[in-house]
Subunit: 160 residues, 2 copies
């Protein structure tokens, strides 16, 4: 019993446009078509979409998912690279968490510079204007307090 794209969307939790998009991006094979040119799917497509969604929810991008699907379809090499991929994702997530925690400290410091309800002289605006030595960055290199320190490298003869 073949499925039309709307039924596949319902079963997989994806949207119709997303399914078409995945097809265009090569994550889903070109499906059969009815005489009216409607796409026809089956259970294996539901599972493939579940796989894709789980990968997306784990933060993988479409290129990575394409590789994983290719391995799944034709597992001809060692899967060691999949472990590397997941390891890199874990490291990346850790970096993001650290960066966000740092940002949070700054935002909280920023928040404390103003009690609100002024028309002029808002402490938050002042801090964004002139920067503030934030307690969390006294010793470490903090990109939130450095602006033009490192000018972009240029290779001119005249100004170099």
């Amino acid at each position: 019993m073949p499925l039309k794209i709307g039924e596949l969307a319902r079963l997989s939790g994806c949207q119709v446009v997303t399914i078409r998009y995945y097809e265009k991006e090569g994550l889903l094979p070109q499906p059969e078509r009815t005489s009216a040119n409607y796409r026809l799917y089956d259970e294996s497509d539901v599972e493939r979409l579940h796989f894709i969604r789980r990968c997306r929810l784990h933060g993988m991008n479409l290129a990575e998912i394409r590789s994983l699907l290719a391995f799944k379809d034709h597992p001809t090499v060692s899967c060691a690279w999949i472990n590397d991929l997941v390891d890199r994702h874990i490291a990346d997530v850790e970096r993001q968490i650290a960066s966000l925690q740092h940002l949070k400290t700054h935002l909280e410091a920023l928040r404390h510079t103003c009690a609100g309800d002024h028309v002029q002289g808002c402490g938050i605006i002042d801090t964004l204007d002139h920067g503030s030595p934030c307690a969390c960055c006294h010793e470490e290199h903090c990109h939130l307090n450095e602006l033009s320190a490192e000018a972009p490298k240029r290779k001119t003869k005249r100004n170099g």
Copy 2:
């Protein structure tokens, strides 16, 4: 001593194209021009760009920065909304951190399902295929283990 766009870029730490982009987006005013149509800036533009960059580094989007700049240019209302804005950002960052920490737990569990170096039968692929009851989600609602449970709401008469 007016600055050309390249000098402004160097002083502000922005790229030339980004400065033109900010102008197009209304974050920077239309600058004076030379007879050869070159943009001319001054110190106030350096400061404005520093302000913009600090906002960006604090995770604000261009629409928010536009509002902040408008307030800075013409502070006619109370700044209480700025505190709300920062509060919302803090809450948002906290949500992101929690979500990433959750994701990290899942990625680590995923990582442990395979020791690598197989050609077929990779545990990671299997887990992505079928999902896994992850220890971190036993009791709470976990979107990483739910896929098609909640079908998108539809308002048809025929299938509803």
